[in-house]
């Protein structure tokens, strides 16, 4: 296999892993009890 192709597969592997990580992070963040947005208060949601 050509070196450039191997490099492409390595890059692809990293991109796919990042995408999977991003989705998992988004899911955990969405369902976390703590509000992560700006101006969040215990009773007043986030602005």
């Amino acid at each position: 296999m050509e070196n450039s192709l191997i490099l492409q597969y390595v890059i692809i592997g990293l991109i796919v892993l990042t995408a999977v990580y991003a989705i998992v992070r988004k899911l955990t963040k969405t369902f976390s009890k703590k509000d992560n947005g700006k101006n969040c208060g215990p009773d007043c949601g986030c602005s």
Partner: protein
């Protein structure tokens, strides 16, 4: 260099007096405002700098009194009383049209010993009604600085900034409410046993149903015997009656009302717009006009966006070196993002019309019309506001249920609001309606616009039906009722709303774009790679779509979705759109782009020409209607699920809602397909 000073102020007033408009003008922000009560249900903060002083402005939800009756009012009261040390003063916004009501909350704030200035807003509207307010007399009576403003037209704002800079906030030296004799002894007892010396603050503690202030050892001081003679609601009524007696004296001194000879435009319009028959006819016509515009006005920009992404995909396919990266970019990411971006103009047009209607004051009439119609379904009163705002997005709509004081009614509203057709359903409805409904008109009205309106009505009727069913399970003894002002009609701020829509469309593009970007990478990887075909292979690369991992997953789930008329590509679309509904279209765009067998052209053409192995159309009329019904009822939005969980604080109700909506979607789609096929 001079050091920058810092200060915090609160914006306070009754609902719909223009607090959010004032907040936007002061802080140069684009916070959503509306010409009806309850737009702000959470505190918002912004900043501005004036003469090297940084001022943090907190916009609290509107309230009529210091005593909370709902969660959004509780936010207001708690912040006002508990955080008194953190702010310099209160900018109290009074409504020139209704000074009597504005003064009730203002007196309470003064009696709490909170430093304040008063801003009388909507003077121009009051003058139109023949109401003249003597500002200097008002300032003299209240013994605080009072200013006139017209926040909408940026008049008087600099004076307010100057007053805030000069710390013109004043604390009242006298109390306008005298504590009744029956409670005086108890109030003095608490005062002598605690560090709290403000007698009215102690009174609010007795008169509020919930604990508002911070007084240590309060439960040890108030014995059971003491609380016997203090029924909170009675104390509140007593206070309100007494206050209005003194307020009436003030308003008679400051207000001059000329007899109104001419009928106001608002009154003329309301004769038709809230009429028991014509009101509904006009509302349906307005809806039809909006949906007609969604198809008609968006046609050209949608074509431009689609052409741009097709060009970009071809361009990157030609320029990038051969290999997986070329395939990922030109057949995975670009078609995926393009597939969803193409609907941005339609969403923008829909939201623009909704904002114009809100701004003009018409939305308040819609709430009034709905209230009358929906009472038999158990969705009376305050539930209507979240339902109406759910047509834009379910998330803020669910948050706005905070102003429903009855917990059970609030729960029912939260559970049924996701049935309302939000803007994320629009891309799916638009593409499927485009596939199954011909582009023809009936007396100038597009059949597609009528079909879109029917979809909105189906969502609305399902919300009604579900609340009717839920009403019999979640029984509520106390009914909440809606008390709202019908605001005067105002000319909408076309330019401001346009800017607001641009912001919302960007929010949609960046929000949906991020999701579809990551989803399309994973979809591409699953379609590019497949199980090994030969012994010495770890993975098969450049597999045909049918033999890829994605194809395998799709084929595995096909038996479950085939009775609904869907092929495996649609199944994958449904799976990915659990993240957000609009991802369905992005997914199909990626999948058709990756499929070598798919015909060339735009996504809708590829979908139209796609055929099953038996020669039947993949997107037949029956399949199209089945998809439409599925998405009308399915809870395909992770963010909404999270908000429901956050607002109900109940995993049981969140799960029940998600599972039942999905089951309803599945079986409705199944039945309709089996009937129509």
């Amino acid at each position: 260099m001079q050091e920058k000073k810092q200060k915090q102020i609160l914006l306070i007033g009754n609902p719909n007096v223009g607090k959010s408009t004032m907040f936007n003008v002061l802080c140069n922000r684009k916070q959503k405002t509306g010409n009806y009560a309850g737009v702000t249900v959470a505190s918002l903060s912004g900043k501005y700098i004036y003469k090297n002083e940084e001022v943090e402005v907190i916009d609290l939800p509107g309230s009529y009194s210091i005593y909370p009756t709902s969660e959004d009012e509780a936010i207001f009261s708690r912040y006002l009383i508990q955080e008194q040390e953190s702010y310099s003063g209160v900018v109290y916004i009074a409504d020139a049209i209704n000074m009597r009501r504005s003064l009730l909350l203002f007196q309470q704030i003064q009696d709490l010993g909170i430093p304040a200035i008063m801003v009388v807003n909507q003077i121009d509207e009051a003058e139109k009604r023949g109401i003249k307010i003597d500002i200097s007399k008002l300032a003299e009576i209240l013994n605080i600085p009072v200013f006139e403003t017209n926040a909408k037209n940026n008049i008087g704002i600099e004076t307010v900034r100057e007053a805030v800079f000069n710390n013109d906030f004043k604390i009242s030296q006298t109390n306008s409410f005298e504590i009744p004799t029956e409670q005086k002894a108890l109030v003095y007892k608490i005062s002598s046993n605690t560090s709290e010396k403000n007698l009215y603050k102690i009174w609010t503690l007795l008169a509020a149903d919930t604990y508002l202030g911070k007084i240590e050892n309060i439960h040890e001081i108030i014995t059971q015997e003491d609380s016997k003679c203090s029924v909170p609601k009675r104390l509140q009524i007593h206070e309100t009656v007494r206050r209005y007696q003194s307020i009436d004296k003030i308003t008679s001194q400051i207000t001059e009302k000329k007899p109104q000879l001419k009928e106001l435009l608002t009154e003329k319009l309301d004769k038709v717009l809230v009429h028991k028959i014509w009101g509904y006819v006009v509302f349906l016509l307005i809806l039809l006009l909006i949906f007609q515009s969604v198809f008609f006005l968006a046609e050209y920009p949608m074509t431009w966006i689609e052409d741009f992404f097709t060009w970009l995909s071809e361009f990157s396919g030609e320029r990038l070196p051969e290999g997986p990266i070329n395939s990922l970019v030109s057949s995975g990411i670009i078609p995926g993002i393009g597939g969803i971006m193409v609907f941005a103009p339609q969403i923008g047009i829909l939201l623009y019309f909704l904002y114009l209607l809100e701004d003009s004051g018409y939305m308040a009439r819609v709430v009034f019309l709905m209230d009358r119609m929906l009472r038999p379904f158990g969705l009376n009163g305050k539930s209507i506001v979240p339902l109406v705002s759910g047509t834009a997005c379910a998330i803020p709509a669910i948050m706005s249920t905070r102003n429903i004081e009855n917990v059970k009614e609030r729960l029912i509203t939260i559970l049924v609001t996701p049935f309302m057709t939000c803007s994320a359903r629009l891309p799916i409805y638009s593409i499927i309606i485009g596939l199954i409904i011909p582009d023809q008109s009936f007396y100038g009205i597009k059949y597609r616009a009528i079909a879109l309106m029917i979809m909105y009505l189906i969502g609305f009727l399902m919300a009604l039906f579900s609340s009717f069913i839920l009403k019999s399970f979640i029984k509520t003894k106390i009914k909440s009722f809606l008390v709202m002002d019908l605001p005067t009609y105002k000319m909408p701020l076309f330019g401001y709303d346009f800017k607001l829509v641009l912001g919302k469309v960007w929010e949609f593009i960046s929000g949906a774009g991020k999701v579809i970007f990551t989803v399309s990478i994973i979809l591409w990887a699953l379609s590019y790679f497949g199980p090994p075909q030969h012994k010495n292979e770890i993975l098969a690369t450049e597999s045909s779509l049918d033999h890829s991992y994605l194809g395998r997953i799709g084929r595995t789930m096909e038996p479950a979705i085939a009775p609904l008329g869907y092929d495996w590509k649609m199944g994958i679309g449904i799976l990915t759109s659990f993240a957000a509904r609009e991802v369905f279209v992005g997914t199909l765009s990626t999948l058709y782009s990756l499929d070598d067998k798919a015909p060339e052209g735009k996504l809708i053409e590829k979908m139209r020409l796609d055929i099953k192995p038996n020669g039947e159309k993949v997107f037949s009329f029956a399949t199209g209607v089945s998809i439409l019904l599925f998405y009308a009822f399915a809870m395909q939005c992770i963010s909404t699920i999270a908000v429901v969980y956050r607002e109900t604080r109940s995993l049981k109700w969140t799960m029940l809602q998600t599972v039942s909506m999905t089951a309803l979607a599945y079986f409705s789609a199944l039945i309709i397909y089996q009937i129509l096929k």
